[in-house]
Symmetry: D2
Subunit: 462 residues, 4 copies
């Protein structure tokens, strides 16, 4: 926000009217992003917080007032229909994404949709198709994988793209939280398959699949998974509706959440006495391994049961020329090892990603002044506004979101099929070639040739 060069009078710039559906945790974070982006960055369009939508009229009115939205709506179809809304920002649970997003695109609006894109591959396919059609009309559609916009992650991707890591050998990612450790944490909608789609997998796993592919610049081709629900019954909520269909919980959202996020959803209280316990129908945790297109080995873990880990999204990449490591709990830091240096003075260096030439830092503070979680939403808004203004495909697109959805589906299929290695492109597991690598001669056939590293131009997204 250091006004190096006063921008042209932003008051003269065209307005981009935003309409947001949902107003809980994600809604608050997106609101902060939209309010701030034009202050920090010099944009060709001026985002305006036109209207917010939720089913409970009083609550949405209060949320509009708190977060700075000019109007409130109680029907998302009305929101989409507003003339002052050019971009629809969807912050609801996953089971409503497809319907809202497709309607908005068909109404000619740009769309930002929270992750995961949908609760099923079929929904995601319909959304990607709608985005493709809208793209031809000049509309843009983006998925809210906001962690791509942590400056350290954007810088990590740059280092990989510049070849500083060389051929990749390993990708190692986990996303550890602990808000389900307590067996008496109540049965919210996030723990019900019909509303949330899946548990840690869709909530946390979607983030790390996208982020790992984004930073690595290549995609997972197959996975092998185990998943678990450690606490199979939890106290039912009393005085709260069962799912997100209820008014106030429209505001609930599927981002990496936890207790505080839930409390924004008018979640009620755990049942005392007679209400009893109900079944948890999603996973508490999932671990999976896989291979990237280049042949690199990958390991993933997503859990809500890692006591003491609050938001530990950790990523490490090892390549022939260098390595990178990151922990979201220290989001201003990136650890980089340059393996081409003399061994005596080499080591993982802690780069404080707050320098002027780091991604997104032109908008912020002097070196060493930390950014936080919410900045990712301002960065996401920046990139989306630039895409709208330029008429270019945003990243991650709905097609990218669909690809992540396919990976998640492959993880679920593998977990249901004795961890069998499962391709991410929808083929049946039986079509998979045998695992590469050293196996006893009696058990293996000719090993497949090691795939060549992808050319730089094969990056996942622009």
């Amino acid at each position: 926000m250091a006004a190096k060069e006063p921008p042209a009078q932003s008051g003269d710039r065209p307005v981009l009217g935003i309409g947001m559906v949902g107003y809980a945790f994600m809604g608050a974070a997106h609101s902060q992003g939209w309010r701030t982006v034009g202050r920090a960055f010099d944009l060709p369009l001026r985002p305006a917080l036109a209207a917010v939508c939720g089913r409970d009229a009083a609550a949405v009115r209060a949320a509009a007032d708190q977060h700075g939205w000019a109007a409130a709506e109680t029907d998302w179809r009305e929101l989409i229909a507003r003339d002052d809304v050019q971009l629809v920002d969807i912050c609801t649970p996953g089971d409503s994404h497809a319907e809202i997003a497709i309607a908005a695109l068909e109404a000619g609006k740009h769309v930002l949709c929270e992750k995961p894109l949908a609760n099923s591959v079929a929904e995601a396919e319909a959304m990607a198709a709608a985005a493709e059609r809208a793209r031809a009309r000049g509309q843009v559609a983006m998925v809210g994988f906001n962690y791509r916009r942590v400056p350290a992650m954007a810088y990590a991707r740059r280092l990989v793209a510049e070849g500083r890591l060389g051929a990749l050998r390993h990708v190692r990612v986990c996303y550890l939280q602990d808000w389900l450790v307590d067996p008496d944490f109540p049965l919210t909608w996030r723990l019900e398959r019909e509303h949330a789609g899946s548990g840690a997998l869709g909530d946390l796993g979607a983030h790390i699949v996208d982020l790992a592919q984004h930073v690595a610049g290549e995609r997972l081709v197959g996975v092998s998974a185990l998943s678990e629900t450690f606490v199979r019954e939890r106290p039912r909520l009393v005085g709260a509706p069962a799912g997100p269909a209820a008014a106030s919980s429209m505001g609930a959202d599927p981002a990496g959440g936890g207790p505080a996020a839930e409390s924004g959803a008018g979640a009620g209280l755990p049942a005392a006495g007679g209400a009893g316990r109900g079944p948890v129908t999603v996973d508490d945790a999932v671990v999976f391994t896989g291979r990237l297109a280049s042949g690199a080995l990958a390991s993933f873990e997503a859990t809500r049961m890692a006591a003491g880990r609050k938001n530990a999204l950790r990523l490490e990449l090892n390549g022939e020329r260098g390595s990178l490591a990151f922990d979201l709990e220290r989001l201003n830091e990136l650890f980089f090892h340059d393996h081409t240096e003399p061994a005596a003075s080499a080591g993982f260096r802690r780069v404080l990603v707050t320098e002027p030439d780091h991604p997104y830092l032109e908008g912020w503070w002097p070196p060493g002044h930390a950014l936080g979680y919410e900045h990712t939403f301002a960065h996401q808004a920046r990139d989306l506004v630039l895409a709208v203004a330029a008429g270019t495909e945003p990243s991650p697109s709905f097609a990218d979101g669909l690809q992540v959805q396919r990976v998640l589906a492959a993880v679920e299929r593998s977990a249901a099929d004795h961890a069998a290695y499962t391709p991410t492109d929808g083929q049946a597991p039986t079509d998979v070639p045998p695992a590469a690598g050293p196996v006893p001669p009696s058990l293996t056939t000719t090993p497949p040739p090691s795939p060549p590293p992808p050319p730089p131009s094969s990056a996942v997204t622009a």
Copy 2:
């Protein structure tokens, strides 16, 4: 910002009109704080960004537009006179603080003044006296020691106040930056005594003196100091006025700065060729030791010459029952050692200060979601608005700022007098009792009794 309970309609609340003087680094940070505070916290008054002031009409107009101020002024006296301004926020260099603050207070306005309070003890005394008079009229005046509002620091103070550390033995603080390492970094106003007052001492040292006293809950009674200017001449700026009197640099400000901060001041470029070099008249670095009221030993260091350290404000306290450690480059973390535990399982624990019951966290995100530097300004605004509404003395008050100024002056006197131990209350160094502790019998007289620890009620500020 997780709207646990929708606040009452904030639109109905009384407005508190803010008028800000200066609009560079600190101005941008304060603007973000004022814009955000009412979104994150449920406040009795609604802050409104009424007007911003700077001498260059076009530049201040652009800044108003960028940062969201409703109006722009070019004369701070006009700003103070505005009816829609009830609180004047001073973000200018130190040499203008006294004049503006006193005028604002005398005009009946509340005041927030950036640190250090002034460039001299005399100015600070006049300001504290003005604040005292205004206090009787119901006005409030606060100094911008924003690092008190890092949640980890507010929580550290709470732990100390609760007795978790017991009698203090050591306070160890440094503030390390590196933006002057390059000998060709130009001669900005921050390096000129007549404008900046001092160098690292006033800029960084003021922060750590205040913060250490605030967390420890007690004050420095004497100091011994060495200071140094390693690079005594630097390239003059070409095409830029010499000091902050120039229009655009009114916006410059004295907060923990660095290159990016300077660039907001329309700083021009280092001279090539004939313009040559000019003398640096402030310190690059200062190291000092001291004693707290309880007898604890303290050590301080403030420098702009620590290569690789960007914003390393590090603080450690050791007490009879426990210890605390902190690093501003990892501002969401506080390290706490409980010395009353069995040794086998004891150790510094890393507390992620993002839990709902940590200070200020009621306004933000779920556990583990990092806050950043700028949040301290929203927290500062929150506490100031609450003080205005309640009519209570804010903390840190101008009296607190004056006390810090006296410590800085004692540091300068000691540095000029062979590091002689110098009391912080303005007495002459010769009045100092001999250093306590073990000295050869031939050199010492009866050691002074160890002072008793202060009662809990003797905390520096409320």
Copy 3:
């Protein structure tokens, strides 16, 4: 070594004569352990370095002199036959373990055998059977999983056994090295299946399987694995024999190695020109997931291709009441999170495992004085001597080593069978029950009941 209480005259104690086979990296480490153990610990027997064995007479004579062995032998059968040898310590590559160990046991000697116990399950079964027979005659046999004797790991096991972690949810272990990153690192015996058995799996994976089970106090019941050989051909060694059958490389050994370890094996130099490249027939890396007996999810990774990671054996356990984390590169530290504390002051605490009441610390220095890698061999020697003197089963026994071998074999089978979940007890993969946890209703049958946590008495080893 702080002589708190001078022990009884150790000169009067019975001697335990040691005969060691192999004298390279592991031989040097074991020698240091045997020389030191009686100085640091008060033992009932006095270990004496009786004789060392290798095939090259001059080289073994030099090694004996360097490492302090009284005699040298060139035939291990002669070593076993010596009257002054009561314990045979086997530090050779895995393909000779079975023959030497069984002969030594049948000759009435105690045995310490480096890990992994053998190169196949069949060999390990024969060895365990021989140990069982010898046990009836009062002999003891131990496998050299020395990392169990890192004080932090022994203390971690104690914390788990005391219930400080509660029911386990996750075990997360990796062992990362980088000495194969360079594609021109030569083709040593460690990269040839016929001598080494496997690659990273047997060398590093064996350590982490044993260590994870030991600390967790329970065993893996099934695994799913992917493995890879990234560099499939490497330069042949010139002027060096092909395998460990050559004299000097008898001293080579299978412990967590790297370049320096190789150089002790008289390894020759990579071929220039005509000698060309030969095939690597073991894995460079393996990743696998699994389930423990209690139902906890586990993930493992062993690799020699993680640029910048030198000896990063990292282990984390998450339970319902707490968590533990460890990194062998910082082996004096254990991180412990107590989840039963108030969230506001909870966090992973860094315990410096150098206190007098930490395991093995009675033999060493004051708190805070670091131990190193080689201390694990003194600790191993201590525990083995105590077992010999008391006639009790040492831990890890050959039966424990066999169980690890079965896990490694299951990993290899799974890697060869599309990562299919494979039980560790030798059953065919098709007998595996479907993966527990949340899968789409159409894909799953009734989920198996979550297994109860094992009673504390079910610990793997004493």
Copy 4:
């Protein structure tokens, strides 16, 4: 110990007979060093543990047996007189150093003396003079500043000497322990001035003064100090003699100690009831600042009252081209920042100082295999044996030890004189030039010119 090249038959090499005085903590550590050095390093002389000395015949006999000394003596004069002793290793408290060392040197023996060299400058001067005379006769004398031999510190010195840091700006060192936090820790000889000379200053401060100068390659020219004894009375020991004159406590030693070290001294128990408390006559803690010859600012802290810090010797150097940071609690790691790199990818890198070309690593294990505290004694023994064999001056020499002693004396004088800046060369404080740097014009005269950086050849020691 990896036997890369089997050394020549060490059995044929000349023996260097060692005689050690004292056998507690330091005696145990030195014994381990002497036993191990010839196993790890290829030396021209073979150190033999000839005899150990203490006043209690039974205890010294037991110590000899435990630590591997061939003979035991009860009078150090007898030890010196032995024909099989060529080098006398002094591990007693400081008050006996001068007498023993001078006698040994005059008897024609080489000497290794624990730090600090003496309890006073006068003693140290006599010792340095004796060493100078002995030097002419081909004898060598070394002071036991073992931390110079931590590989990371030796490597740090190399980086500085190579110019990787450029002109130094800051040296920041502390040595934090916590064994006196408990006010009921008893009154051992270490807390009595007549035996220990000083408290934290001589014990810990001596280490950091020497280490900082050694790594920086330049010396302190002046200091300003505060010291404190927080707990002025402690329980007297019952059933133990008052000082180290008693037989068993001859074995006590002055190295960075703590509770466990004390217990080796036959320390008795704190008094219950009538015995009461006695005065502590040394410092618990000292903080001091200073200037190096090049003009760099330095800050030091030594304390036994930092709860939770066990052996935290921390050192940071900042120069114009780079920085270094180190913590003895993680002694295998050195953090290095190269300030000549592009800011975007620069940062402190963690170098694991275990590579083959790091200092002393030729004797040990593959990369990543940690060394510990005691290795420093083997390294010290190595360098001393090489100096004996080559007839060269060892480092640190007694002259170096004397210089450190002068710094400590200047610290004590400053602490007794209101922290007045005190030169380290023995001049009176009044001769000190005014502090350099920026002071108000009215208070200062012409600032002294910044001293030029010393030429590389001006390194403190070879």
